[in-house]
């Protein structure tokens, strides 16, 4: 199993959710985050003083999928979240050793 983490633009969340649902992914966890990458923050003025906002609002989604689905999930997120502009985000994948559904106690792929 893989745990796929993607950091995307907040307003792309709905598109990504719909795309993943279309793929049969049945669960997702979302966190409000801030971040920067090549898309550096912006310069703003507040009460006459310039300052750099280093972190921009993003949304992090986490999806646990079985190994077969991993590649397709990444691609789906990538195409649903992309706008072609800087700040589109990143996708990371780590190996997921265990998964358990609390209600039933199922583990492994069953639990996803």
């Amino acid at each position: 199993m893989k745990l796929i983490m993607a950091i995307i633009k907040p307003f792309k969340l709905d598109d990504v959710r719909e795309a993943l649902t279309g793929l049969g992914v049945e669960g997702m966890t979302v966190t409000e985050v801030k971040g920067y990458g090549r898309q550096k923050g912006q310069t703003e003025i507040y009460r006459g003083a310039e300052y750099e906002i280093h972190f921009l609002p993003k949304v992090k989604i986490e999806v646990a999928v079985n190994d077969d689905q991993a590649e397709r999930t990444i691609e789906t997120i990538s195409s649903a979240a992309g706008t072609g502009k800087i700040g589109d985000g990143k996708i990371f994948a780590v190996d997921l050793e265990k998964a358990m559904r609390i209600r039933t106690g199922e583990t492994g792929n069953e639990a996803l």
């Binding site: 307003f11 801030k34 703003e44 003025i45 507040y46 906002i53 280093h54 972190f55």
Partner: protein, 437 residues
């Protein structure tokens, strides 16, 4: 707000309740002070409504547009005051030909205070100006709520400038300025049509011309609700408006210098308050019945719809009738909001449903309690004011659209107006202790 002529008629009707030696024992100067005080005291209550609109709208937009809503409202209140001084007041009240007053700066010549003593109903001209001025601002606030979250700031403020300086005053001259509508017998005590519907019509044309927020309506016509970010703020705004409305309607008695006048102001307070109460209860009952859940935002809109509905005639109804008139307003708003959505007219805060629908209903409802009102005259006023405001607003919005543009870019809309147009956030913090993100 109506001319003194109209007022005296209305009083005549009201007085039939009890024989009153009106003004018998109050000296001319004392009456002058009372009348002026009424404008001032009720005026600061109406001024407070500016805060009410701001909080209401601030609570019903998304966080990313909240600061902009704050700015637009404090700016429009400022502009309204300045414009009403520079052009508006005299356009509405000075040498009205029937259709329009004169283009000139307002100057306080306090005609009321003369060496020859005081005439019945005299008050200080400045206090009247102050009271009238806060009404104009209310009209502009209505528009700001409807077109929130996508209109560009400066074009919106240009529209506000024209609305408060020209559009509102001209139609105001027809009725309160003593023009043709008042001659035609049109009655609108405190402005269900003259203030609220005008704001509502301007909001409607704006909402249509600017278009709906991105994502509000799905491709197959489905409606995607965009919940307001801060309901306590919206509730606070509603209470502020409720309080201010006592001044809005109460001060529109235009006099407090006799026992009968102050008694009437009391009746107006009661009816205004109970109409709002009726609106709340009706909206709660309706949403419970239709949706099996009470909707807080509809209850708030219900209160405001009740207030708008009673505004055209807050004096003549019995309290029981006031409750009913307000309740009908509350019911109407529950239906109007989804109906507008079906038409894909995107009104962020329900301003059109409250102020336009409620305003029309309230103007009609005058006939139920005021014997001097005729349905024909009322409809004449509703239609004339509506047609005028729609045409004039459309022209202004259209000119703005094809010159400077009225709508932010899609990306700016996504990022929110706070970031895009103001470069700041309403709640900028992230991480309880970290200030400098």
């Amino acid at each position: 707000m109506k001319s003194n002529l109209l007022k005296i008629t209305a009083l005549g009707a009201a007085l039939s309740l009890a024989a009153v030696p009106a003004h018998a024992e109050v000296s001319g100067e004392t009456a002058f002070i009372f009348n002026t005080l009424s404008f001032l005291m009720h005026g600061f209550l109406v001024m407070w409504m500016a805060a009410g609109f701001t909080m209401l709208e601030g609570g019903l937009v998304r966080t990313k547009n909240t600061s902009m809503q704050m700015l637009k409202n404090i700016a429009l209140y400022s502009i309204a005051g300045i414009m009403y001084y520079l052009i508006g007041y005299n356009l509405m009240y000075m040498d009205v030909t029937g259709y329009i007053g004169s283009f000139s700066i307002w100057e306080a010549v306090d005609a009321g205070i003369t060496a020859d003593g005081f005439k019945e109903g005299d008050y200080s001209a400045g206090s009247d100006w102050f009271f009238q001025m806060v009404f104009v601002a209310a009209t502009a606030s209505i528009v700001s709520g409807a077109v929130a979250e996508r209109v560009k700031m400066w074009p919106f403020l240009i529209f506000t400038t024209i609305l408060t300086g020209i559009i509102y005053p001209i139609q105001g001259s027809w009725s309160w300025g003593g023009g043709w509508l008042s001659e035609a017998g049109f009655l609108d005590f405190a402005g269900s049509s003259i203030v609220h519907s005008v704001g509502g019509w301007a909001a409607l044309t704006g909402a249509i011309i600017i278009g709906a927020r991105k994502g509000k309506y799905g491709p197959d016509g489905q409606v995607r609700p965009i919940p307001g970010a801060n309901l306590p703020l919206a509730t606070l705004g509603t209470f502020i408006l409720w309080m201010g409305w006592l001044g809005f309607n109460g001060g529109s008695q235009l006099a407090m210098g006799s026992a009968a006048d102050v008694r009437d102001i009391g009746s107006i307070y009661i009816n205004t308050n109970l109409a709002a109460a009726g609106g709340v209860v009706a909206a709660m009952a309706m949403t419970q019945m239709i949706y099996k859940k009470v909707d807080l935002t509809m209850a708030l809109n219900g209160a405001l719809a009740g207030l708008v509905s009673i505004t055209a005639e807050p004096l003549a109804p019995t309290p029981g009738l006031a409750i009913l008139i307000g309740a009908v307003g509350g019911v109407l708003v529950v239906f109007a909001v989804p109906a507008l959505d079906k038409l894909k007219i995107d009104d962020v805060v329900g301003a059109i449903s409250v102020h336009l629908v409620g305003g029309i209903w309230g103007t009609i409802a005058v006939v139920f309690s005021n014997a001097d009102a005729t349905i024909v005259a009322q409809l004449t006023g509703i239609i004339a004011i509506g047609a005028y405001t729609v045409v004039f607003s459309t022209i202004v919005w259209m000119v703005l659209k094809f010159t400077v543009g009225v709508r932010v870019s899609e990306e700016e809309e996504m990022d929110g107006l706070d970031k895009a147009e103001l470069g700041l956030e309403a709640y900028p913090e992230f991480g309880h202790g970290s200030a400098k993100l």
